[in-house]
């Protein structure tokens, strides 16, 4: 599990504009509901804000998803699941960290079992600050992500491949064992 299964260098010519356009317009999302942030998702999905306007729909499994939302604090136990879900997603894939907790620990800044910076373990493409961010902020984040994808700036998945060993080292410092 600790060997990078994919080539770490991606040839640039494959990364075409049309694919970026398609990825941008059809973001299928899996939301990893770790904390209170999940409560902000229903208004985003339903008729008040309706994210399906932009082609964003919730998916049941990471195999089908392009976008992962980590909604809330990340406990050390949860991190392994998040990493697993992230690795099961197919490239290109994007991560949005939701709320203050994945940024700097939030109100759990001094907790012994909470990850302070999610970015150390999986590449995060976009943060939404706030505790909690309101649905408007989430919608804005989606739009920002779409813009980033279009400009080729949302390339966390490339970072993950390139610095796979470093990410793994950080993760294994937390996990002790991978396979349980």
């Amino acid at each position: 599990m600790n060997e990078n299964p994919l080539p770490s260098v991606i040839p640039d010519k494959e990364w075409k504009k049309i694919q970026r356009m398609l990825s941008k317009r059809s973001l299928w999302m899996i939301h990893f509901c770790t904390g209170c942030g999940a409560m902000e998702m229903p208004p985003v999905m339903t008729s008040r804000y309706d994210m399906e306007r932009f082609g964003i729909i919730p998916m049941a499994t990471p195999r089908q998803a392009d976008l992962m939302l980590v909604t809330g604090y990340v406990a050390t136990k949860t991190l392994k699941r998040i990493v697993r879900v992230y690795e099961q997603m197919q490239d290109p894939k994007y991560v949005i960290a939701f709320g203050s907790c994945p940024i700097n620990g939030g109100i759990y800044w001094d907790s012994y079992n909470i990850i302070k910076r999610l970015d150390k373990y999986i590449p995060v493409d976009l943060y939404i600050a706030g505790c909690m961010p309101r649905p408007e902020a989430v919608m804005d984040a989606f739009l920002k992500l779409m813009k980033d994808i279009d400009e080729g700036k949302a390339n966390g998945w490339m970072r993950y491949r390139k610095y796979y060993d470093q990410y793994k080292r950080n993760q294994m410092r937390i996990f002790k064992r991978w396979d349980e």
Partner: protein, 605 residues
């Protein structure tokens, strides 16, 4: 060719083989295989070389080698050949005895197919029946007893039918039965007895109870029993209805839209058998029992065709019997290969073996296509003929029963595929190897006809047409690649070309991107990944369906028979109580009996 050559090649040669292979020890199946192959070569050489020979040994006996015999011999020969080929590497205990009994059964089958008189028919039938009994006995006495009970019942039925014919004609020859001396009400009894007698072999409900037990014996034998010998029932019913009696007699009972009123109830029984067999097969977890019930269901289809008796229906029945011989033998051999490698019978205890045994998986998959009637195999064409035969006559009870039974067939087919070959591979099966080469060869031989006759159905339909015209029935409507009923038709050449082209379209889209193979434990379990536990959802697979069917499933023919026998056992136990051992009681019985006789005598006088 004369009578002796015919007798020598098809009867004596296998008998010699049976004798020789008994001493063959480990190589017994190979010796048996050689003898079967020789018979097979003569079968190939003598195609078209048909003739009828009468031997007079006090009573007249008749051996006939015609297209009907040839057609059935072809499937029985192929099936026993592959069964023995499978047995070569199956490490059976006492392989010599096994091969001997198989060849005895084969001799019996050949005899039944060759004979055109009731005496030799009965003799060879018993030879076949008893060798099957001993073969089942090798596995379990209990299973063999159940088979024996119904085997004897079948023999009694047949003997009753024969007895009535002999009473009227004084001859055992088939052709003498049609001389007009038998009144039509006697024909009703004769036909019912013969159909029921042969129907036991085809495991028609309610005479199917032996099948799930008998089919749980050694797989090479079961493949021969289910694929080969059960076709003797088909042959017997076909001959007794359409050759011995003939359409004229059948129609004299009155007709219902061109179908004899004697045949219709049996067609209905066949449709019910197809439905019930399928439903019961869905709920089996033991692979052998599942295939046994499936076999019951599939032979129900054949019975429908035999009962309806139009050319299309009979053609469908013969074709379906042919297909069933191949795909069901293949399935039993595939199950045998899996059981040989894992030593397990329960579907839910296996899983993922398709990755370890890819060729076995492909062969079984193909057999399942045939079973489910996917048009990629000839299994579809026979089912199509049976459906159209029922629909063009507007039989609104038979047709839906058959159609829904074939949907049910998808359910248990998938249970076999998923439970055994797909899903998670268990740790203990990580080292399982592919089946030995002889087993694969045996399965490959059985797969070929299913594929070939799907592409060119005209070849086999030609033989079936010859069988029908030889029996004096109307020919079926077909060309090399197409087949028709009065309401529709299909062209297999178009189908295959279209399928190939569209499959390449799909492949072209598919190969544009490469895919990476991941570990089987790398699955989505909501982020959880139990890395050494194979989660396989095969246990009690159709539980919701079973729950909804529970009120119906509590009725069972099997248990009805058991209650029936228990009633008699209890009854005899009660009767036994009158033997008290007290002389005074016996004296009293004597007195009472005397009184009763006195009163009856008084009343009579």
């Amino acid at each position: 060719m004369d009578a002796l050559t015919l007798f020598g090649i098809f009867i004596l040669l296998p008998l010699v083989g049976a004798l020789l292979s008994y001493f063959g020890r480990k190589y017994a199946p190979i010796i048996a295989l050689i003898f079967v192959a020789i018979t097979g070569i003569f079968l190939y050489v003598w195609y078209g070389n048909f003739g009828s020979y009468t031997v007079d040994i006090g009573v007249k006996l008749n051996l006939t080698f015609d297209i009907t015999t040839w057609f059935f011999m072809l499937m029985i020969n192929t099936v026993i050949f592959s069964s023995l080929l499978f047995a070569v590497s199956a490490d059976l205990k006492n392989a010599g005895g096994f091969s001997t009994l198989m060849l005895l059964g084969f001799t019996g089958a050949n005899g039944v197919l060759l004979s055109r008189d009731f005496l030799s028919l009965y003799l060879f039938w018993e030879l076949m029946s008893w060798s099957v009994y001993v073969l089942i006995l090798r596995t379990s006495g209990e299973y063999a007893r159940r088979y024996l009970l119904f085997g004897v019942l079948s023999a009694y039925f047949i003997i009753m039918g024969i007895g009535i014919i002999y009473y009227y004609t004084g001859s055992f020859l088939y052709e003498d039965a049609l001389s007009g001396v038998i009144p039509y009400y006697a024909w009703a009894w004769i036909l019912v007895f013969l159909i029921l007698g042969f129907g036991v072999k085809m495991a028609i409900i309610p005479l199917h109870v032996w099948a799930p037990y008998a089919y749980s014996s050694e797989q090479p034998f079961v493949s021969f029993l289910s694929g080969g010998l059960s076709k003797l029932g088909t042959f017997g019913i076909y001959m007794s209805m359409y050759s011995i009696a003939g359409v004229g007699i059948l129609d004299s009972f009155g007709t219902f839209r061109g179908v004899s009123l004697l045949g219709y109830p049996f067609a209905l029984l066949g449709a019910i058998t197809a439905f019930v067999g399928t439903i019961l097969a869905i709920f089996q977890d033991d692979i052998r029992k599942l295939l046994a019930y499936s076999s019951i269901g599939q032979l129900g289809y054949v019975m429908v065709g035999l009962g309806l008796g139009t050319s299309l229906a009979l053609g469908g029945a013969l074709f379906h019997a042919f297909n069933h011989a191949f795909f069901k033998s293949l399935l039993f051999l595939g199950a045998g290969a899996v059981i040989y490698r894992t030593g397990k019978y329960k579907i839910s205890e296996m899983g993922g073996l398709g990755y370890r045994m890819p060729f076995t998986f492909l062969f079984v998959l193909f057999a399942i296509f045939g079973l489910a009637g996917i048009p990629l195999t000839s299994g579809f064409i026979s089912k199509w003929m049976l459906y159209e035969a029922a629909i063009e006559k507007k039989f609104v009870i038979i047709a839906p029963l058959m159609l829904i039974a074939s949907v049910g067939a998808f359910l248990y087919s998938y249970r076999i595929l998923y439970g055994i070959f797909l899903g998670g591979l268990k740790e203990e099966h990580k080292k399982v190897k592919e089946a030995p080469a002889p087993m694969l060869a045996a399965m490959f031989i059985l797969m070929l006809p299913l594929l070939i006759f799907s592409i060119v159905p005209g070849w086999i339909l030609g033989w079936i047409n010859d069988v029908l015209t030889n029996t004096g029935l109307k020919p079926i409507d077909y060309t090399q690649f197409t087949y028709y009923s009065s309401i529709g038709g299909a062209n297999m050449a178009t189908f295959w070309i279209a399928f190939m082209v569209l499959f390449f379209v799909a492949v072209a889209i598919f190969i544009m991107k490469r895919a990476r193979v991941v570990n089987q434990y790398d699955n989505y379990f909501a982020g959880e990944a139990p890395s050494s536990v194979a989660l396989h959802a095969a246990h009690n697979y159709y539980k919701p369906l079973k729950d909804t069917w529970a009120p119906m499933l509590k009725y069972s023919v099997d248990r009805a028979y058991e209650k029936f026998s228990k009633f008699f056992v209890d009854g005899f136990y009660e009767i036994k109580k009158i033997y008290t051992g007290n002389p005074q009681d016996y004296a009293a019985y004597l007195g009472i009996a005397f009184l009763i006789f006195l009163i009856i005598g008084w009343w009579l006088l």
